[in-house]
């Protein structure tokens, strides 16, 4: 793993660590089986990533389109397998959903010391938006992130309390936070509201990925995806 991140550093890849491993680093989750990166969406940066992956003997995994601007802008995922880095499955996105531009997210990011080196990790607020997926478990993680963000402020502002309440998907936590803000509500009312929000958020994420997976299956039928198992070094020009 260290080799992968050192390789990214050596080739000057601009990225942010997102999703599962980011939540582990913040302390909001205890486990994630893969690594997800948000790549700055430029052709030059994509080439640098491919060189970094080639240096680690990475291979293309499933349903991966070329790392071309058109597919990066469309919000597709690019999937790689790095057998020599702990059998790692690496998922890369250049335009992930719900989080705006890479440039702004990079300003809000945090560099953390890890066993894999010093790694830029997406900021908590952006990570919360990224985790609003169709998976119910992710909302427990979001609730933990909101808690962690609050605990990092000795005296949280009203704005932060409102943000934390909006991103608490455990009814008791949301009701307590709204109570701090002077909002008259009950745990039961929060529970009902959260249930409605979860359905909306899950449907939104399902729609997002349904379209992209359908496009990738179409690209596969047209022979336009990179064949699974292609070494990354074959993609480096």
């Amino acid at each position: 793993m260290r080799r992968l991140f050192r390789s990214c550093e050596r080739f000057g890849v601009e990225y942010l660590l997102i999703s599962g491993q980011a939540t582990v680093l913040y302390g909001a989750a205890t486990f994630s089986e893969d690594v997800d990166l948000w790549l700055r969406p430029s052709p030059g940066n994509a080439r640098r990533l491919l060189r970094a992956l080639a240096a680690c003997d990475a291979r293309v995994h499933k349903l991966t389109p070329p790392l071309a601007p058109r597919f990066m802008r469309a919000g597709h995922g690019f999937h790689f397998h790095v057998a020599r880095a702990d059998d790692l499955y690496l998922d890369v996105m250049a335009s992930p959903p719900r989080v705006g531009m890479f440039r702004e997210a990079a300003r809000r990011s945090v560099v953390m010391n890890t066993p894999w080196g010093r790694i830029p990790v997406v900021g908590i607020e952006d990570l919360v938006e990224l985790k609003k997926t169709r998976r119910l478990f992710d909302y427990e993680v979001i609730t933990n992130l909101a808690r962690i963000r609050l605990l990092s402020e000795p005296s949280p502002s009203a704005a932060l309390l409102r943000w934390a309440a909006r991103n608490s998907f455990r009814a008791e936590q949301r009701a307590s936070l709204l109570g701090e803000l002077g909002v008259d509500t009950t745990v039961d009312e929060c529970r009902k509201r959260i249930a409605v929000e979860l359905v909306r958020l899950q449907k939104r994420d399902t729609r997002y990925w349904s379209r992209r997976l359908a496009e990738r299956r179409r690209l596969r039928r047209q022979g336009l995806l990179i064949p699974q198992g292609t070494p990354a070094r074959d993609l480096v020009r």
Binding site: K62, Y89, V110, M112, N113, L151, S155, Q173
Partner: protein, 68 residues
């Protein structure tokens, strides 16, 4: 307590409140202990857990390529 938020996010404003309730849930003692570790320590332990998985590809693919 490890603080993972950039110092630039903090602003000097008028005195603000402290929370009047405990954020940590009584049924989740492990989370507070987990947060007390450094990010590096968490990553090492998490990666050790990962090595116990029998079929990482199956888990990854089920999550990443669902039948939607």
């Amino acid at each position: 307590m490890y603080n993972c938020v950039m110092a630039a996010h903090r602003r000097k404003l008028r005195p603000r409140r402290k929370l009047s309730f405990e954020l940590d849930m009584p049924d989740e003692p492990y989370l507070a202990a987990w947060r007390a570790l450094t990010p590096a320590q968490r990553l090492i332990r998490s990666w050790r857990m990962r090595r116990r998985l029998k079929n990482i590809q199956a888990i990854h693919d089920a999550k990443t390529f669902p039948e939607l």
